[in-house]
């Protein structure tokens, strides 16, 4: 089983600021982490490898320092890491990112399964996983909360829905996006950390993956961020005090106005 896990380096959400000029996230001086959903995707990939054999490759698109998340992935059980990095990728929206990742995956070669986090905690779009599947023309299952059964020809899993879950089976090749209920990511291992310290990662440029320059980066992005702003605080909130009876009385008075 050959599994590719897409991971993203994101700013730790405990410390997020916006660049007022570009309306994008200011990444300088902010602690970076592996997107938490991606950690669950990686954990499931490593578990599937342990169960079915094969190898796990982690793939990230980002600036050169994004190799740190690849290193973390290696220390948690991934076998290989590939970084797609090129100045011309900067400013990519979800479509351009999906396109770029698809090109990189074609370059890496054969796979049975691609795992992605449901969404990244910086952009919060949840579009790249499905977009990537469309680019690769393979089936996808989003919001996987549990893998019930895995074997060499199919996966049976639970897809989280608003009011319960669906049980879905998919044959390979396929792409899954996962939610946090799926598993508890492992703590890095000592042997993994030692391996991660020494490993050299493959770095692919736009030219290496044969990307069409009209489809990448800001220029290749159909969506543009026009404005980013904090939502205005909700006005007119009131907190009622007193005993329950007193509060009910106050509430009835307030509601009576609308009758």
């Amino acid at each position: 089983m050959k599994i590719i896990v897409c991971v993203k380096q994101v700013p730790d959400t405990k410390d997020v600021r916006l660049d007022p000029e570009t309306n994008t996230l200011a990444r300088e001086g902010v602690q970076s982490i592996m997107n938490p959903y991606d950690q669950h995707a990686l954990e499931e990939a490593v578990r599937l490898k342990e169960q079915l054999g094969g190898e796990v490759t982690v793939l990230s698109m980002g600036p050169p320092q994004a190799v740190e998340v690849l290193r973390q992935a290696i220390s948690c059980g991934a076998d290989h890491g590939v970084l797609v990095s090129d100045r011309s990728f900067a400013g990519a929206d979800t479509w351009a990112t999906s396109y770029t990742l698809a090109k990189a995956i074609h370059k890496i070669g054969g796979f049975d399964l691609i795992l992605c986090g449901k969404q990244a905690i910086d952009g919060d779009t949840a579009q790249v996983g499905p977009g990537l599947a469309m680019q690769l023309e393979i089936p996808f299952v989003t919001c996987v909360q549990k893998v019930r059964e895995a074997n060499d020809h199919e996966l049976v899993m639970e897809r989280m829905m608003d009011d319960g879950y669906d049980v879905v089976a998919v044959s390979y090749p396929a792409l899954l996006t996962v939610v946090k209920d799926l598993n508890v990511p492992r703590i890095p291992s000592l042997k993994g950390k030692m391996k991660a310290k020494k490993i050299e990662f493959t770095v692919l440029s736009a030219a290496d993956i044969g990307a069409d320059s009209a489809c990448i980066g800001l220029a290749g992005s159909p969506t543009q961020v026009v404005n980013v702003f904090p939502p205005p605080p909700r006005a007119g909130r009131a907190i009622l005090n007193g005993t329950i009876d007193e509060q009910i009385e106050q509430l009835v008075e307030k509601l009576a106005v609308y009758l």
């Binding site: 890095p188 291992s189 000592l190 042997k191 950390k193």
Partner: protein, 383 residues
């Protein structure tokens, strides 16, 4: 203080710290309350390769090293020494195999412990053989191609949870201490059972049971070393493992200072945080002095043992006594600094104080350690 750790040692600390902070600390109170064995946490420790630390590289381990184990146990001890004890006792269980086992036994057992697939326990203590190991009643008799074990071990850590047990039994009663041998008994061997879990004051996440042998027959090749060498191997085993117990003491000491200092900065009495009162400051200062002095001794002893494995008895005993007496004292003082809150189960220091006591008792009481140190001094000055 900077103890100039190597890159590998820093990795061990980082990983053990992460397990402690993310897995042990959130669960320790519940495991203590329910007397529950930490299977899931041990699994995550195995996944992180911590069980491989004491095992030689040729058997899938990370090369052993007293100092490496000490660093891991100090972190685990900061979280919960019940869980730390379960981990340490597995290492203790395989030390006899590492020290004196045949290649065949090493291959069979060490690899599965290094991978975290199995874990171990050490069976020495009996009802009438604690500090005086020569009082052992359990016997092993060779019958054809099998050893037949009879007897009962008491207070065995990881009893009922381990898959591999190293057990001390008398093979020749006439020879006294020189008639003891060590055997590997596996979970499921016919004639071997574990008693019910003991109810303890502290380290309640760890499992402590009797090991009961009734005509337990095991293959002839399960003896560790030659017959009669058991007592020497036991002494070497305990010399190797004691700095780990000292490290658990360092962990408790650090946790107590962390808790007591944080509390003293927040708790306001007479209009000020209590840390501004000299009476409290001096208690915290004394705790910090004792902890750092103990840490310096434990680390130095561990480094000495790694460099001079044949000369470990005295330093091993010295660091065990100092760090575990410190843990007891510092945990009592932490409860005192925190007053009524310290005595309540909502705060972690009452558990630390209950837990700390065992450190002065197990793996050789601190009185026995002082005997060892005294005898070594006597020897040194007789030359």
């Amino acid at each position: 203080m900077d103890y100039f750790l190597s890159e590998e040692q820093n990795m061990i600390v980082e990983i053990a710290k992460q397990i402690t902070d993310e897995r042990i600390i959130p669960q320790r109170a519940e495991l203590d309350e329910k007397d529950e064995f930490p299977r899931e946490i041990l699994k995550s420790m195995a996944q992180a390769d911590l069980f491989a630390v004491p095992i030689p590289e040729e058997y899938g381990g990370l090369g052993g090293g007293c100092f490496n184990i000490v660093l891991a146990l100090e972190q685990l001890g900061r979280g919960c020494i019940g869980i730390g004890t379960a981990f340490a006792a597995s290492a203790l269980g395989v030390y006899p195999i590492i020290i004196a086992g045949s290649d065949e036994l090493k291959e069979k057992y060490l690899t599965s412990v290094a991978s975290g697939e199995k874990f171990a326990a050490f069976g020495l203590t009996e009802a009438n053989a604690g500090s005086d190991a020569s009082g052992i009643q359990t016997t092993a008799v060779l019958d054809g191609d099998e050893w037949v074990l009879n007897g009962t071990k008491q207070w065995i850590t990881n009893g009922g949870e381990a898959q591999i047990y190293t057990v001390v039994a008398i093979t020749d009663r006439k020879k006294g201490a020189r008639g003891a041998s060590i055997f590997v008994v596996e979970e499921g061997d016919a004639g071997f059972t574990c008693g019910p879990k003991e109810k303890k004051m502290g380290i309640r996440a760890s499992s402590t049971t009797e090991l009961i042998f009734k005509d337990c027959r095991i293959p002839k090749n399960r003896i560790i070393g030659r017959p009669g060498t058991g007592f020497i191997t036991v002494m070497k085993t305990l010399d190797s493992s004691r700095p780990g117990i000292a490290a658990l003491g360092l962990g408790i000491g650090q946790a107590c200072i962390d808790e007591a200092t944080t509390y003293a900065k927040q708790r306001v009495q007479f209009g000020k945080p209590i840390i501004s009162f000299q009476a409290v400051q001096h208690m915290l200062a004394d705790m910090a002095i004792q902890l750092e002095a103990s840490r310096a001794l434990v680390y130095s002893a561990a480094r000495h043992i790694d460099a001079h494995p044949k000369d470990m008895s005295k330093v091993s005993s010295m660091c065990k006594v100092m760090a575990t007496d410190m843990a007891m004292k510092v945990s009592i003082d932490a409860v005192q600094v925190m007053g009524g809150y310290g005595y309540m189960r909502e705060y972690p220091v009452e558990k630390m104080m209950r837990d700390a006591k065992i450190l002065q008792i197990y793996e050789g009481t601190n009185q026995v350690q002082r005997n060892v140190i005294g005898q070594e001094l006597n020897k040194e000055y007789s030359r």
